[in-house]
């Protein structure tokens, strides 16, 4: 057995898929940074090659479908430990049986792919609601999040469209980077926790935070408290950055 290690970029993953495809023995794929050596397998470091990754990308687009490519991208963003190996198995399965295999919702690989993709999509949808901006200076806003999956690229378009007349930064503390919007363009940029802390200093004493807290309290129906239902819609792991809680 061989373990292919890539640099953590999507192109790196596709390059690894390219080389893994010709191997006869079972292959597992991992990010180089999160890899723990395993006694029975031989690690192989794959260098990202744009031409190889392009070939895989184009191959999936033309011979499979855009939906399949999107699924692979979601698997990549999910950062679930076995997701890259699953992506590889999924690509092999689709090329073997053509893209119609995606209809087989009872197939274990397809099911797991759907499950992971749904988790990523679900979280990106949730965070469109759970991001809480704090005002740094008038019309400049800063928010911190710690999502399970790497969803910043998925929510960028939404926030850019919605808040197109205000500067904002959405900071993923876990992954150390952020969406930055400067009234013209929204882009992804590295941002450390320390830099984030500095920004946070300027945001104290926002009267609207207090107002929202009291709104949150007063709309609750005491007669119908149902904490389990609240937690199922809004799991506790997100509470840290929600000002109303």
């Amino acid at each position: 057995m061989k373990d292919y290690l890539y640099d953590g970029s999507f192109d790196g993953l596709l390059t690894a898929v390219f080389y893994a495809y010709t191997e006869k023995e079972p292959i597992r794929l991992f990010k180089e940074t999160s890899y723990r050596p395993y006694l029975l397998s031989e690690p192989v470091v794959v260098k990202t090659e744009m031409d190889k990754s392009d070939r895989v990308y184009q191959g999936i687009c033309s011979r499979l479908s855009h939906t399949t490519l999107t699924n692979i991208y979601y698997l990549y963003l999910s950062e679930i430990p076995d997701s890259e190996t699953l992506a590889f198995e999924y690509i092999k399965l689709c090329f073997k049986y053509t893209d119609t295999i995606n209809l087989a919702k009872n197939n274990d690989i397809i099911r797991t792919v759907d499950k992971y993709a749904k988790r990523v999509l679900m979280e990106s949808h949730r965070l469109k609601g759970f991001v809480r901006f704090k005002e740094v200076t008038p019309l400049v806003f800063y928010a911190q999040i710690e999502p399970d999956h790497d969803i910043l690229p998925l929510i960028l378009g939404h926030f850019k469209k919605r808040f197109s007349d205000q500067h904002f930064i959405i900071h993923d503390l876990k992954r150390g980077y952020a969406i930055v919007y400067d009234l013209k363009e929204a882009y992804l940029h590295d941002l450390s926790i320390e830099q984030g802390e500095k920004l946070l200093h300027f945001t104290e004493g926002d009267p609207f935070e207090e107002l929202f807290k009291s709104f949150y309290k007063s709309v609750t129906l005491e007669e119908r408290i149902n904490d389990r239902q609240r937690r199922s819609y809004m799991p506790k792991r997100y509470w840290k950055h929600l000002v109303e809680l």
């Binding site: 609601g129 759970f130 808040f163 309290k217 609750t220 129906l221 149902n226 239902q229 929600l242």
Partner: protein, 446 residues
């Protein structure tokens, strides 16, 4: 009065309105505008009662000239009254929106002076938000029953969704509990909004520049349990509203006793399970192709709370079953208890490649606990008991009698009469957790 105190009073007064969804609209926005709408709706937070916060839900004022028996803001109640100024509403909306606390504004109001004056003020605030502030977020506006046609016509140009609350499901109940309101006053604006929507949609097909008119459609709310109306008449009313006025949603709200009065029931326990079953019934009407007449009979005009409405229907129509999973059309699959829209879609998708086996069904998300009695798979019946109404009813009946648990007049406690199986009763507010099919109806999505 401080803004904070006003907000507490006027959001607290609006909380009995359950509608909070922010879906269905399609207002477009350009770069440089503030705000956008999301077709699926977005929930921004959830309160401890498990309901979603999607919109800043407030009353403009809780002063009211009416004296509706069920309402917390009725004229004869001795409560603190407050009113927002237009600037305060605009300021709160914009600033909450910019911090991503909300999807937009839900603006309702007590009726002050007269319906026309109230509607005019509501309309002017919404107009201010849209035109002066260029706000492109979601706006849900109440239409005030009795307001003039012109005022409602104009308000609809700025709102994404409008709603008129019917509250009481029948004419008799209305006379009893809300004698100031007339039935035709409630239905007139509803009818008018729905015909305006159709008109504008037709116009838009011809002229692209026709303004949007209530693009998110309209909704309404019915109070459950304050009057003796049965489930049959409630769902028949909803069905009429969906058919005739093309309503997007009918909300059901278990009556929470905020007042006491001669005509009001003395409820100790809001009938939340009944509300849940009604939502399920409502879903059957909108997404599963059921008609209200099918779900009830003359003798049984109420749901048996122990079963979900589809199981109820299936048990009363066992002749339609079993259904063969591998060749039944989509609309028949939807009629099987335990098969929802998603699992039906997965079944029709997967069986195009190969016939499904029984273990496959579990993988597709079918709830076999209920579905097993109503299906065959490759011609084989897999139910744990025979296809017989009494036997199936027996195995599907929950251990705790939910009908008893949802009884509004009696709050069961550990120390009550030692009848039935109430030794390990959960706290009342947790009773919704006992039903297997969790309520999803109260979120802002869909």
């Amino acid at each position: 009065m401080e803004l904070q105190e006003k907000l507490e009073i006027l959001s607290g007064a609006a909380k009995y309105d359950v509608s909070c969804s922010s879906s269905g609209s399609k207002r477009s926005s350009k770069t440089g505008d503030l705000g956008s709408v999301s077709t699926s709706g977005i929930c921004h937070s959830f309160t401890p009662d498990g309901r979603c916060i999607s919109l800043l839900k407030i009353l403009l004022t809780n002063y009211c000239i009416y004296d509706c028996a069920y309402c917390a803001n009725r004229r004869s109640n001795d409560i603190t009254r407050a009113a927002f100024s237009a600037e305060e509403v605009v300021d709160l909306t914009i600033n909450f929106y910019r911090r991503n606390y909300i999807e937009g504004l839900f603006l309702s109001s007590g009726v002050f002076k007269n319906p026309n004056h109230t509607m005019e003020t509501l309309g002017s605030i919404v107009k201010k938000l849209r035109i002066e502030q260029g706000f492109k977020g979601y706006i849900h506006l109440k239409a005030i029953p009795g307001a003039s046609q012109e005022l409602i016509d104009e308000a609809g140009l700025y709102a994404d969704r409008m709603s008129v609350n019917i509250e009481l499901p029948s004419d008799e109940s209305l006379k009893l509990l809300a004698p100031d309101k007339k039935k035709q006053d409630i239905f007139a604006p509803m009818k008018q909004i729905s015909s305006n929507i159709v008109l504008h949609q037709e116009e838009r097909k011809k002229y692209k520049r026709t303004p949007l008119y209530v693009p998110g459609g309209q909704s309404t709310q019915l109070i459950i349990g304050a009057t003796p109306d049965n489930d049959f008449s409630i769902l028949t009313l909803s069905q009429k509203l969906y058919d005739k006025y093309d309503l997007k949603r009918v909300y059901y709200s278990a009556y929470v006793p905020v007042n006491t009065g001669a005509h009001l029931p003395e409820i100790k326990n809001p009938p939340t399970l009944r509300e849940h079953r009604l939502y399920q019934g409502d879903w059957l009407l909108r997404f599963y192709g059921f008609r209200a007449e099918e779900l009830f009979t003359e003798e049984r005009p109420n749901f048996d709370i122990n079963f979900d409405p589809k199981t109820n229907w299936a048990l009363n129509h066992l002749g339609h079953f079993p259904i063969e999973i591998n060749d039944a059309p989509f609309n028949l699959l939807l009629r099987v208890p335990g098969i929802g829209v998603r699992s039906a879609q997965k079944i029709t998708s997967a069986r195009r490649l190969a016939p499904l086996s029984y273990p496959d069904l579990k993988k597709l998300g079918v709830v076999l606990k209920r579905a097993q009695y109503f299906i065959t798979c490759r011609s084989k019946y897999h139910g744990s008991v025979d296809l017989d109404e009494d036997k199936i009813r027996h195995v599907l009946t929950p251990k705790l009698d939910l009908n008893e648990l949802d009884n509004p007049y009696e709050q069961l406690t550990l120390f009550d009469k030692p009848s039935s199986s109430q030794l390990l009763l959960p706290p009342m507010h947790a009773k919704l957790l006992l039903v297997e099919d969790r309520p999803t109806a109260l979120t802002g999505e869909i």
